[in-house]
Symmetry: C2
Subunit: 343 residues, 2 copies
DNA sequence: GGGGCGCATGGTAACGTCAACATGGCACCT
DNA sequence: AGGTGCCATGTTGACGTTACCATGCGCCCC
């Protein structure tokens, strides 16, 4: 059980002061190249690892970010978590996850994160409605994903409206005159965006706007909506996410309605399983990786203040190609067999 | 921008020494009730929060655990993450997530976790094969989920064999004489357990044992297997997870084989969506929450050494009712419409 | 040629907490 | 009455790191 290797050990081994070791570790320019090499050799030999807790105590930065998410039961949230985890890791930040557990108490989640000493946090869409009223602990940097703009925090969004528009226009182009919508839960920004884009497209196309059916993102709620759709004789449906579309597909099948021959169905997200639904689902693909990367980039930027490495700058430059000017991450319509030209 | 409230502030406000505040915070019995009350009032007034980094520096424990997972793309892994996150939170531990990103390099993941100063880590099944050869940093407590027993770490498992047995026996009782199997990837302990239980049941029932089809847990790989199943004229299939079953269902449908009339299909996990597959999937339900809770309990126990609060003891007592004596977490067969009595 | 400046490096203190030891008071015993 | 021991509380220093200031050296310029 060997003792932990500290800076002092490295300093002694390299014949310099601890301060110089610190400068090497932190890439300070004020170090002679020869000295730097000697210190680096000593670090390698001894297997030195900086002590995060000590550094955190001294600097007040833990290099840890938190992720607040209402649940990981929806596939979209899981995908975001993965994207955020990878983006954080690539910047040397640890990620700690806090779920709301159905309590809607974002303030409590913030408290817990602060207690765990995170430098900042990313809040996923489901939690944003609650976040709106939440007390934000002073000094907690925040990036909110898929929320209304707010002057209390910055945000990152997918272009929900653009994606929904593409979906509905696709259905209209297929000759459908009425497009139903299975929306996400009230209070979800993403759900609201998709819903109002759906409505806008129908209105400006002069099409009739059916009543909205509302689910809670789950496949079961989609099935309930599907029963209504069959009853109403819907011929085209845009679902606010893939999982609800799965439920819709099953309910329609049980009611004896064929997809895509009797009813066309479009989803949102392009979850991995969507290509294996029956039939394979036409859906709007979200770029979760870019979204997560951007959220982390913004958060880290905000934490670091003005600190701006060349590498980061390039990364941001590069990202900007992949989403539109307003900062919304672009989507792609993926056409599969749940919609078909020439019904 | 007010300064952080430290122990010294509380001490001064309450008219005691810092040490006494420390004792109150840590529930030391050697504090006069009146003094304790006074200190607690001062803490509440000032909004004191212990500084984790300082505590970690002093004690060497960060109260943070890591989770190593190969990917979050499989729904089972996401469910486990949620269960682990909640269990950790209820014990006051933070959870930091590390994904392998397809690299299979568990040693590197361990290094990163150690660098982030975790007290211990939980490794999910996909990563265990790789973990077998990995260098375990000294002092890193480890709990491995769904792995072969090993003397280098302790483990927690679902009763995969029992679940698979129930699934296959269910199919045999339905009158099927041949049951096919779509297995998980080589090197996965869970996949191996399910596969060999499937084989054992068939052998001891005197049934023929078809060739194993192998997937990678994804729905797409399930669809590929489904094509083979249709070609071979299979009438009963046990899939090693629900997502592969989804692919099988679609492939069978495309080949014109009806489920459950022509083919009976059983899955594993009972993912939230399984009840909305077409048809709703008969499957083996895993109790992820108990599994996660147990993994965290074991890890924390190992970290704390002999430390054993009364509350923890009760919790373990209670858990023991929900899984079998050997410590494997029990499963439940959930019969839905993808299998039907009296074909 | 002396004053000043830039650069590499070192010394010191402090971040907030807790373990170890020290202290002082009071009750109980002989 | 003096001693013994327990209990509540205080004092001191250290965990590993970095910010701030100090030092010493060589070089340039008027």
């Amino acid at each position: 059980m060997q003792k932990r290797v500290s800076m002092a050990d490295v300093a002694q081994h390299a014949g310099v002061s601890g301060q110089t070791v610190s400068r090497v570790v932190n890439n300070s320019p004020r170090v002679d190249p020869a000295t730097r090499a000697r210190v680096e050799r000593a670090m390698a030999t001894l297997g030195y690892r900086p002590h995060r807790a000590a550094r955190a105590l001294r600097t007040g930065r833990t290099h840890t970010i938190g992720l607040v998410v209402s649940t990981l039961a929806t596939v979209g949230n899981s995908r975001m978590l993965q994207a955020v985890a990878d983006a954080a890791a690539s910047r040397g930040f640890a990620l700690t996850v806090v779920t709301l557990g159905g309590s809607d108490d974002v303030s409590a989640a913030f408290e817990r994160l602060v207690e765990q000493g995170v430098d900042g946090a990313i809040v996923l869409n489901e939690a944003t409605a609650a976040a709106r009223g939440a007390r934000i602990p002073p000094g907690l940097h925040l990036v909110v994903v898929d929320s209304l703009p707010d002057d209390r925090f910055v945000g990152v969004q997918t272009d929900h409206a653009g994606g929904a528009r593409a979906a509905v226009e696709h259905l209209l182009q297929l000759g459908h005159e009425e497009v139903w919508h299975v929306a996400g839960p009230r209070g979800s920004f993403a759900a609201e965006q998709r819903e109002s884009a759906w409505r806008d497209v129908l209105v400006s196309a002069g099409a009739t706007v059916p009543n909205v059916l509302r689910g809670d993102w789950s496949a079961a709620s989609g099935a309930a909506a599907g029963v209504e759709l069959a009853k109403a004789g819907a011929t085209a449906v845009f679902c606010a996410n893939d999982q609800m579309a799965l439920g819709v597909l099953r309910a329609l099948a049980e009611a004896g309605r064929e997809v895509p021959d009797d009813v066309a169905v479009v989803g949102f997200d392009d979850v991995a399983d969507a290509a294996q639904y029956r039939p394979p689902l036409t859906t709007v693909r979200q770029n979760f990786d870019v979204l997560g990367e951007r959220a982390v980039a913004m958060l880290v930027h905000s934490i670091d203040g003005t600190g701006h490495t060349r590498e980061e700058h390039d990364r941001e430059e590069h990202d900007r190609d992949e989403h539109d000017r307003a900062g919304r991450v672009a989507t792609t319509l993926v056409v599969r067999q749940s919609t078909r030209v020439g019904r």
